[in-house]
């Protein structure tokens, strides 16, 4: 056999003892040192089993290949009742499954608001009582129903949903319509103005967008996201470019489809820099779902928080959740709010990081680098560190500032457990008291234990 290393100049990757690396330096041998650090205690045995699995390399290539080849198209806007078969008294919520008893303030606030919106209670007190009693109430995770929701992520039958179809693999995913910032349901606010806005969204915004989409046809979200990244969005905490592009795409059709309402609809969409977030989340959900169910794959297909728990799901481990306590984000606060007002991490918007956007694409969004430490270099460092724990680079989602390198995409549980490098997650911060709304935005780290628990499960599978 011909062994290529015997021919040509030796170039050595070194990992481990510094003395051996220095010996190569003294011989002037070109060298790349690995900055190795031991994994958490107890990881090595499971890691070795998972790495030795003969299915792993191909399984991960298949899973991440599906994720990266998804072509999410915004195809429609429909009420949840109709799109998801959601019945009165059933509510979907963000994150892994949770009960009313364990739900945090903003999650309870959003559920109360949804009860009021659906006419299932006349007052917040009555809504809370009925939710606590559980009579006629069903709570379930959005993720179990091809759906994602930002922050509390509460979905009730009368809410209108963005429908995204994956033109490559055929699946469909859903996300609610974005309400804007400030006092909104997803941050746990349920005052009259919140309910009033939801009504307007159901009566005016949803139908107008639906009619517009019927006119202009499905919207290619993969292309839109790719362009927004090159315009300074990371698609989680910054959606300004994507929202602008969306408005450009649909405005003529809105005017044609709903001439009487076009101005208020476009004013609403245009006035909310995060309007695109929910479409981007549904697109991400469609891509992540395409990667589910590949036996032997250690790819993360969902990261989600319910305000109490942070949970992940893994391609090779079915619908099982691995959960740990949700952390409190480290970030910037609005007005007089501070860290004491912050609720633990909440929302399905980490689906953006799951597919290589959000914190993973921080280097694309210099305008919001203050969330990651203040310097553009910090944003670049955040993104580049994510290449250490991801399986691929996105072929369409590229970062101009990194020489159009693809975003780091497809988190590998084994790489996270091995390096101890945790996914960088950008997030909004909800007030901990029900009804408060948003108090800030920043960064949060997932609990490391969810990745090692998933690794152990892969090793045992």
């Amino acid at each position: 056999m011909t062994l290529s290393m015997l021919y040509g100049e030796p170039r050595v990757i070194t990992v481990g003892a510094e003395v051996l690396a220095e010996a190569l330096d003294r011989q002037a041998v070109p060298q790349r040192r690995v900055d190795w650090r031991p994994p958490a205690p107890g990881v090595a045995a499971s890691l070795a089993r998972v790495l030795a699995d003969p299915r792993r390399v191909q399984a991960n290539a298949t899973a991440v290949g599906r994720m990266l080849s998804a072509r999410p198209m915004l195809t429609g806007v429909r009420p949840a009742r109709e799109a998801l078969g959601l019945e009165a008294g059933t509510f979907f919520h963000a994150g892994p499954p949770i009960t009313w008893e364990r739900a945090s303030g903003p999650m309870r606030g959003a559920l109360i608001g949804a009860m009021l919106f659906e006419g299932l209670a006349a007052t917040p007190e009555e809504a809370a009582e009925r939710l606590a009693s559980g009579a006629g109430i069903t709570l379930d995770s959005c993720h179990h129903h091809r759906t994602v929701g930002p922050m509390a992520g509460v979905v009730s039958p009368s809410m209108w949903m963005l429908e995204v179809a994956d033109a490559e693999h055929g699946a469909t995913a859903y996300c609610s319509l974005n309400e804007g910032l400030g006092k909104v349901l997803r941050y746990g606010a349920y005052g009259p103005e919140v309910i009033e806005r939801l009504r307007w969204m159901g009566e005016v915004l949803g139908p107008a967008l639906a009619a517009a989409l019927e006119r202009c046809g499905p919207l290619d979200l993969r292309t839109l996201v790719a362009q927004a990244l090159q315009m300074g969005d990371e698609l989680h905490n910054r959606n300004r470019a994507a929202t602008s592009l969306l408005v450009r795409e649909i405005a003529p059709a809105v005017v044609e489809a709903a001439p009487g309402r076009a101005a208020e609809v476009l004013r609403f969409v245009n006035g909310n820099d995060h309007f695109f977030l929910n479409a981007g989340m549904a697109a991400a959900k469609a891509a992540a779902d395409a990667a589910r169910g590949v036996p032997g794959s250690s790819l993360v297909v969902a990261m989600a928080r319910n305000g109490t728990d942070f949970g992940i799901q893994v391609s090779g481990l079915g619908d099982r959740w691995f959960t740990g306590p949700a952390g409190v984000p480290d970030g910037l606060y609005l007005g007089g709010y501070g860290p004491d007002d912050a609720n633990p991490d909440i929302g399905d918007s980490t689906i953006t990081e799951t597919v290589g956007l959000g914190g993973f694409a921080m280097a694309a969004a210099p305008a919001i680098v203050r969330f990651v430490g203040g310097e553009v270099a910090d944003a670049v460092a955040a993104t580049t560190s994510m290449y250490e724990i991801t399986l691929a680079e996105h072929p369409a989602y590229q970062i101009p500032g990194l020489g159009f390198r693809g975003t780091p995409a497809g988190i590998d549980v084994a790489l996270v457990a091995r390096t101890g490098v945790l996914p960088v997650v950008n997030t909004g911060i909800a007030g901990r008291v029900a009804g408060t709304g948003q108090v800030g935005a920043g960064l949060v780290s997932p609990p490391a234990g969810v990745f090692t628990a998933a690794l152990d499960a892969l090793a045992a599978a």
């Binding site: 050595v12 003395v19 011989q27 031991p38 290619d220 159009f404």
Partner: protein
């Protein structure tokens, strides 16, 4: 003229990048015209105006239209297109963050390497070594305490990828002139070495170097490779690789006595290159004899192996105990065999490089503390030690050992040193020998000669 028209849905590149790609393609002599652009109505119309048959496109599709003289030219242009599109995502290396990689996988993705050197603690070595193999790199695993089933799995995957796993517990290798691990500075030459024993290979190659004969490559395979379980998986590959190598005229195989099935595996290869086998053990040649055999096979003279005898020692009465305090396992075994160490009556020979002594601490070639303690505990008789020079090893072993030798000699202990090194080694072979000799030790470049001398001293 022949046309290539492709529509790639969902592939996005910015227009500046695509103009650059189109220009680069059109500039090629075999290409008549090329349009690589997003599938807007404008671009699709442009391509149609040029006579391409363009199917319906959307602005979210990448449109590729190339015209060339022949289909072979078209194939070349298409390959160039892929290269150009791939380069747009590579960042050209400049804008990338300088943060060091955290795994071998990551390092291999961003930097073109020929080999990886893994020396993390044994329980973690598997992940890094597997990264290398999966990236198509040969790997030297210096780490010990790696489970044998992981070794077998790595070696099987490596064979499938056409790369070599050197180790685990591989102390030395010389690949293309680069010394990996504990490596002597050897002159280039015709001898290729396959070694299941690091210090054994160092002894042979250092003696060859002293005799003026250099090496092509030294490929360690790990001390367990020729066991029944591992079955010579890496030795077979390494022998075949050296057989292919035009620079290698003679192969020396150094190993502890192999398991019968492993011995069969390495014997039945039908190599074109002559092989001198050093299968250490009772009834076999010692390492010095192997080096001499290799020299003769190459038609070279066998020199007197340098040694520095100790000064006149006072006459000792009768038979005295002989201790061997070694850092190299093979050197230790060889010395014990030659000295006929009687473990029943003598405290015997200890290999401080054994896994049992290195768990959680550095190798004795780097950290002398355990050997120093053992030497201080010797009250009388004869002590035999090895000192191994080269990159990676103690930068100045005589600085700690010479004072200990002086003290031992003052206690009435005879000290004999087997000094394994080459003239090019950074520590200075002759300078180290002189300092140890001045302190009162008898110093030999041949371990076998050192062991014979120690035996004679102990026998009185």
């Amino acid at each position: 003229m022949t046309d290539l028209v492709e529509v790639r849905p969902g592939v996005y590149h910015d227009s500046v990048t695509l103009m650059r790609v189109s220009q680069a393609l059109t500039a090629r002599p075999e290409v008549a015209v090329a349009v690589v652009a997003m599938g807007t109505d404008l671009n699709a119309g442009l391509a149609r105006d040029l006579g391409f048959e363009v199917p319906p496109t959307t602005p979210g599709d990448l449109l590729v239209a190339i015209r060339a003289a022949t289909s072979a030219d078209l194939g070349e242009a298409a390959a160039e297109l892929e290269r150009q599109l791939a380069t747009t995502g590579s960042g050209g290396g400049k804008a990338r963050d300088e943060a060091p990689p955290r795994t071998v996988r990551s390092a291999a993705r961003s930097w073109e390497a020929t080999v990886a050197l893994v020396s993390v603690p044994g329980e973690h070595a598997f992940a890094e070594a597997l990264d290398a193999v999966e990236a198509g790199l040969s790997v030297m695993i210096f780490s010990d305490n790696v489970p044998v089933e992981q070794e077998i799995l790595l070696k099987d995957r490596a064979r499938a990828r056409g790369v070599l796993v050197m180790g685990p517990d591989c102390g030395t290798a010389v690949v293309g002139g680069a010394g990996l691990g504990f490596a002597n500075v050897l002159r280039p030459g015709p001898v290729g070495v396959v070694a299941a024993s690091g210090t054994g290979a160092q002894q042979v190659t250092c003696l060859l170097d002293i005799a003026g004969v250099g090496v092509s490559h030294v490929l360690g395979v790990g001390g367990r490779d020729l066991s029944a379980e591992v079955g010579g998986r890496s030795a077979v590959q390494a022998l075949r690789a050296l057989d292919e190598d035009p620079a290698t005229e003679l192969i020396v195989l150094v190993s502890k006595p192999p398991a019968p099935e492993a011995a069969r595996a390495v014997r039945d290869l039908g190599l074109a290159t002559p092989v001198v086998a050093a299968l250490l053990g009772p009834g076999e040649d010692d390492l010095t004899a192997v080096a001499e055999k290799a020299l003769r096979a190459l038609g070279r003279d066998v020199p007197e192996w340098p040694c520095w005898p100790a000064g006149e020692a006072p006459a000792r009465e009768g038979r005295r105990p002989l201790r061997g305090l070694y850092s190299g396992g093979t050197l230790c075994a060889e010395a014990a065999l030659i000295a006929g160490a009687d473990t029943a009556t003598e405290a015997g020979f200890v290999d401080f490089g054994d896994d049992a002594y290195t768990r959680g601490r550095a190798h004795p070639m780097i950290d002398p503390s355990l050997r120093r303690e053992a030497l201080r505990g010797v009250a009388s008789g004869v002590v035999l030690l090895d000192v191994v020079l080269g990159h990676g090893a103690d930068p100045d072993p005589s600085s700690w050992l010479a004072p200990e030798v002086r003290d031992a000699v003052a206690r009435g202990v005879d000290v004999v040193v087997a000094l394994v090194g080459a003239d090019g080694d950074p520590q200075g072979l002759r300078a180290q020998a002189a300092r140890l000799n001045e302190a009162g030790a008898a110093v030999f470049t041949s371990n076998a000669a050192a062991a014979r001398h120690a035996r004679r001293l102990a026998d009185g």
